[in-house]
């Protein structure tokens, strides 16, 4: 992975519930800390665009999909477990992942 990899992240939520807001906040904070401008983040409300959830076969919300860089990864939950999110986004060094 190079430093210049651009991240495309999609966050699916169902309405603006406290849980949704928490996920958005957690993701934004993480991105700012770790990705410093190298990311594009889209928030999709399934209640407004249900067909998009159908297309992506999403069951749980919030669901974060890392579209780019490959591999595609899905993280569900309000993203409060930072370490797991970092693992999912391939932002943790391999040695740390093994611990």
């Amino acid at each position: 992975m190079t430093v210049n990899d651009k991240y495309l992240l999609k966050l699916y939520i169902t309405g603006h519930t406290p849980r949704s807001e928490r996920a958005i906040k957690n993701l934004r904070r993480l991105c700012e800390q770790e990705l410093d401008g190298r990311y594009e983040m889209r928030v999709i409300d399934i209640l407004e665009q249900p067909q998009l959830a159908e297309d992506e076969k999403i069951l749980a919300t919030p669901t974060l999909i890392k579209m780019l860089p490959p591999p595609l990864r899905r993280i569900i939950g309000d993203l409060s477990d930072t370490e797991k999110v970092l693992v999912g986004l391939d932002l943790l060094p391999v040695e740390l992942k093994l611990q």
């Binding site: 399934i46 159908e54 939950g77 409060s80 797991k84 999110v85």
Partner: protein
């Protein structure tokens, strides 16, 4: 949660699944959720899909299929063999999939709290977009395997159940069970969709698979109790055989029809009744097939159509034998007065045979039916399965108000009861016994009318012979006793006089 009017009784939605609406007395409770459970291979998915398919085919009601296990493309392919063209229905907005099946490469990491709001939103969206009135969810157990947190899944499924109720849609959810008898379903799912429960069973009994369906409960409404056998036909799906739900409401007729033998007509007091069941019982080779041939011939002479189910002989054998008795089956076939269905009993299960028989009767519309022999079917199923087969067959023929002749082979050469008789005798109207009679080192044949409901009949045991013109019934055996028990004994004139004297006033 519920906004149902408590003064209105629970309505039912006819499913269109053959036999189910009869045992459920109208179908599934409308606007409610029904849980259908069964072990692996118990046809839950077929039932769930058929619920939608029949809704589309019979009443143009759109349906949504939520799948957690198989991919929609698999379901489309598997059900094409039933002649359900799901893809076409999807194009016509009559069928919609909500695909929640495991996606390859979708490795999911859990981080913090989540819910299944997306799934709920997708289901609601699918239901709204086609105006669905039916929904099938297959299966609940698979949802638990998708997520680590069972408590959360349970809470979310309860929310789903409530949402479905709010939509007023009639829902069917499937769930697995690990044993045929025991807990209703895995993960205790029945606790939150517990209003209505149906169990499908697939029990191995004496080396035969036996499928049954049982409605365990329907809250606030009635249904038939107990297990009913069913079968899954490759081109039709599930067909339930509603045995005891069949009502005994056939009319009875005084009209007589010829038996095919003038002597037999005399013995029966003028022929068989038009809507009666005749059981012909006898050992192998003593003339049962001949009696059915005479029965068919007698009908054909009156211009009637006959349907013959042969489970012991092939078409060629039948033709040859009938020719030997001076009856030309081939000519009758050409005139469309006879249809012969020859099948090997082991070629299918009892339920499948029964459905094949019903189909033939429905399509050929015969004026009389003969089955030679029903006892050949004993080999195919269990004792219980055979009993259900016989009852179902008998009631089906009776409902058509046509005479039916069934033959049964006795186990021993000289008579004695057979399983067929004990299962069947109470629902038959007429029983004719054919027996071998050993007389002075010679085998003769005897015939008697054991019972005939609603009519006088001869009580004699008469001798009969067979030649190239068929069956000839002669004089009664006068000086022999014990023919029926299979131990014939001579009486000399002296003891005959003494015995007849005993009953004189």
């Amino acid at each position: 949660m519920s906004n149902e009017n408590s003064k209105i009784p629970v309505e039912k939605l006819g499913t269109g699944i053959e036999g189910f609406d009869l045992i459920s007395q109208g179908g599934l409770p409308k606007g409610r959720t029904t849980l259908i459970t069964g072990t692996a291979g118990s046809a839950k998915t077929v039932f769930a899909a058929q619920f939608l398919a029949e809704g589309i085919r019979k009443s143009n009601e759109p349906g949504v299929f939520v799948t957690f296990e198989e991919h929609p493309s698999e379901i489309r392919k598997n059900l094409l063999s039933m002649n359900w063209h799901i893809q076409e229905w999807e194009e016509q907005n009559l069928w919609r999939f909500v695909d929640a099946s495991p996606q390859p490469g979708h490795e999911t990491i859990e981080s913090g709290e989540f819910d299944l709001g997306a799934l709920l939103a997708r289901i609601e969206y699918a239901v709204r977009s086609i105006g669905a009135q039916r929904i099938s969810i297959d299966s609940l157990g698979a949802v638990f395997t998708l997520f680590n947190n069972a408590t959360l899944v349970r809470a979310e499924l309860r929310r789903l159940s409530a949402a479905l109720k709010g939509m007023g849609i009639t829902a069917l959810m499937t769930a697995e069970r690990t044993q045929e008898f025991g807990e209703i379903a895995r993960f205790g799912v029945e606790e939150f969709v517990a209003d209505n429960v149906i169990i499908l069973r697939n029990v191995l009994e004496a080396e035969k698979r036996r499928r049954t369906i049982e409605i365990l409960k329907f809250r606030g409404t009635t249904h038939q109790k107990g297990e009913y056998p069913f079968t899954v036909l490759p081109d039709q799906g599930i067909i339930i055989i509603p045995l005891s739900a069949i009502e005994l409401k056939q009319r009875s007729s005084d009209m007589r029809v010829p038996s095919g033998s003038p002597e037999m007509d005399r013995m029966c007091g003028g022929g068989f009744f038009r809507d009666s069941l005749i059981l012909v019982s006898g050992a192998t080779g003593c003339g049962k097939t001949l009696m059915t041939a005479e029965f068919i011939h007698g009908g054909a002479k009156k211009g009637e159509k006959c349907l013959l189910f042969a489970y012991e002989e092939s078409r060629e054998q039948l033709l040859r034998n009938a020719n030997g008795w001076g009856i030309d089956f081939e000519a009758l076939e050409r005139n469309n007065q006879l249809r012969m269905v020859c099948a090997y009993p082991e070629s299918a299960g009892l339920e499948d045979h029964l459905i094949a028989i019903k189909r033939e009767i429905d399509s050929f519309k015969p004026d009389r039916v003969a089955v030679d022999s029903v006892s050949a079917m004993e080999r195919v199923g269990t004792n219980r399965g055979f009993r259900e087969f016989m009852i179902s067959l008998a009631s089906f023929v009776k409902h058509r108000e046509i005479p039916g002749m069934f033959t049964a082979t006795t186990a021993t050469l000289m008579g004695g009861p057979s399983v067929t008789e004990s299962h069947f005798s109470s629902i038959t109207d007429t029983i004719i016994l054919l027996r071998y009679v050993e007389m002075l080192g010679e085998m003769r044949r005897g015939v008697t009318v054991l019972k005939m409901r609603g009519s006088m009949h001869e009580k004699d045991i008469r001798e009969f012979t067979i030649d190239h013109q068929g069956m000839h019934i002669g004089k009664p055996f006068r000086n022999i006793v014990g023919i029926l028990t299979g131990k014939p004994e001579y009486l000399n004139m002296e003891s005959m006089d003494r015995i007849s004297g005993m009953f004189q006033d």
